[in-house]
Subunit: 396 residues, 2 copies
């Protein structure tokens, strides 16, 4: 029998499947080339050739027992060292092997962190709109996700007054997702400093430890030279979650890491705790072959210009059609105000043009929709007349 | 700050690290070839060459987006079909794609099952001695693991009277680990039938659903023609967890599956629930490249004879030296009665001969020790004089 905790999740999933199936049904009727699906976040730029070459190289040259065998739960030394070196070169940090804990992608990185810091009814704060599965990552460990109201007037930066108000003795962490899914904005240094100041103040006031968890799977997908601040430079109790799902298009391979800075609370024990959490959560370790390959190629990147061009052209097409969009700064998402206060009705209207997007309420951001632009450029071109027709319907 | 739930686990881990470090220290003093380490469960037979060939083939021929991309959380259709076909050929079952949910190894398979069936304070039963991390897999989801006392008189089969007594309204599952870690015994058909009868009876009596979870990572490692019964043939609410960690020596790659038989409770919803649990637990999916490779080679097996010979020779060496051992039937573990009622003192005595084993109390089986014989055969040969000397010390 499915548990009380799981049952509602199974019921909700039927709505998502219905949407997916509607897309398939539409494709059967009008042809897949005439369905413009902006609803999925699956990278559509192939992994760089260096990745596949590295995989073949390690298969051919690595000790066969090591290649597919267990290692310490936190990962191979050489992979962790390569990650640390890369971060050190880019951020001027001094990370070593022990500061890096490899795990099966950013989703698992967050889960093992919550396994380490949450007891029943502890709280974690995030600002709306946010990636929905944070709710699950926190409730898995019987914590509660507290959601700050969205801040459309302030460019969807967290509302600092609300953040400060919401922190209490039970607050164990604040999540920031930078660049942000679903808004595509990047929190600049000034915002990070404000958040850090509030957390410092509240830690002192309450005598507690509040982690700032930076979920950064889109860190390399930034445009126009924008920089994503390295959070541990601004706050001691920072933890960074990273994934190679997007920067190397390895989403299916499940590989990423947590950075545990030496200045963070109980750092030495926390590094051990994360390794244990890797084991007992069932992840055990990041996949061995991909770890070894990554050690040889992790400084390569996918073709970011592909996403950049998509983001620019989608933004232009939508604003030309009269829509009110946030200019994409990073990730591969565009956040657009729905011309209908009920954005679900607007999502339905878009379907008449065979355009599929995700309603903002799926991210606790009603009144908006999310376009995911990891699509063929042609999809944007071919959808543009539809954007115009829908725009005319709403704005003229 | 590390949570109350996690802190004791971090403290306990220092004992394990101390043991590991003592092994390293010993190796530095007497040379690694003179340390006989029977404490680790890392397969030491390489993956069959077909696996690496399949990896290279899929890297060279597969669509690059599919190769490393997301798929449905339950896995690629072709991999699930290959798993189903393999099971059908061997057990005469009629599994299809939907009955197989791929995940990141048996440890994660168990975690996603518990994510689906446990609410706070629900109970899961296992018989001592047992693989210690079951405690964690259950307590992750705030369930309680209830441990039946060991049954040395009955060949370490579960005590049926205790099983029946321990089942109550909160009992959601019984775990059997077959072949068994740490005892190396295989539960025969007669035992499975007895367990099934008790569960059937209690389900009716209590009006509940009690899953029988078969954790079978060692299923292919069986000797002397012994067969591991296919549990769903004996009980409707059976779930099978499998891993390729041992049968293909892919422990580091994290790949395995759950079998959800159509006759099991809420089967259709349960299949969906496991996919959701894969996603929200952070596993997301079993690694994509290895899934695709596995679809091409999953019927190959590692060299089982290597383990068989090790098990036989270790058993002979230890019984010759006077020790009381269970004859290994499967897995790569040998379970031996400690000649000292305090088996930890005996473990220390073995260290004087540079022999490292795991004390039974690490498996809730005090008074015994576990030898893991996934070692070079030479290790057994070279340790034999030490076994004799220790035997003489205790038995003469």
């Amino acid at each position: 029998m499915i548990s009380k905790s799981m049952s509602p999740r199974v019921e909700n999933s039927s709505a998502i499947r219905a949407m997916f199936e509607e897309g398939l049904r539409m494709a059967r009727i009008v042809g897949p080339e005439n369905v413009y699906d902006f609803s999925l976040g699956n990278p559509n730029v192939p992994a760089p050739p260096e990745v596949n070459q590295a995989i073949i190289d390690v298969v051919k040259t690595e000790d066969p027992i090591k290649l597919h065998g267990y290692m310490v739960n936190s990962g191979f030394d050489e992979t962790r060292q390569a990650v640390a070196d890369d971060l050190n070169d880019r951020y001027g940090t001094k990370y070593g092997i022990s500061n890096i804990v490899m795990s099966t992608g950013a989703a698992m990185c967050m889960n093992i962190i919550f396994r380490c810091i949450l007891d029943i009814d502890d709280e974690v704060i995030v600002s709306a709109p946010y990636f929905v599965d944070y709710t699950n990552y926190v409730s898995n460990w019987h914590g509660k996700l507290e959601v700050l109201p969205a801040n459309p007037e302030g460019g969807f930066m967290p509302r600092m007054d609300e953040l400060e108000k919401r922190i209490n003795k039970k607050t164990k962490a604040v999540i920031i997702n930078n660049p942000n899914n679903p808004t595509g904005v990047i929190y600049p240094e000034s915002v990070i400093k404000e958040i850090a100041a509030i957390l410092e103040k509240k830690q002192k006031e309450l005598g507690t430890v509040i982690y700032l968890i930076a979920d950064e799977p889109y860190r390399e997908l930034v445009y126009d030279g924008t920089q994503v601040p390295h959070i541990p430079d601004y706050y001691d109790n920072a933890l960074v979650c990273y994934s190679y799902s997007k920067s190397l298009s390895l989403a299916g391979e499940r590989i990423g890491y947590v950075v545990v800075p030496d200045r963070s609370d109980q750092a030495e024990q926390f590094k051990i705790a994360l390794g244990i959490a890797n084991r007992i959560s069932g992840a055990i370790n990041a996949p061995s072959l991909i770890q070894l390959a990554l050690a040889r190629c992790l400084r390569t990147k996918v073709d970011i210009d592909f996403y950049k061009r998509n983001g620019q052209d989608l933004y232009e097409a939508l604003t030309d059609a009269g829509f009110d969009c946030l200019k994409p700064q990073g990730a591969f998402y565009l956040w657009m105000k729905s011309p209908d206060a009920d954005e679900k009705a607007f999502v339905e209207a878009l379907k008449e043009e065979h355009i599929l997007v995700t309603p903002g309420s799926a991210f606790a951001g009603p009144g908006y929709v999310r376009f995911s632009y990891c699509v063929a450029h042609e999809t944007i071109e071919r959808a543009t007349p539809g954007f115009k027709r829908i725009g005319q319907k709403y704005f003229h």
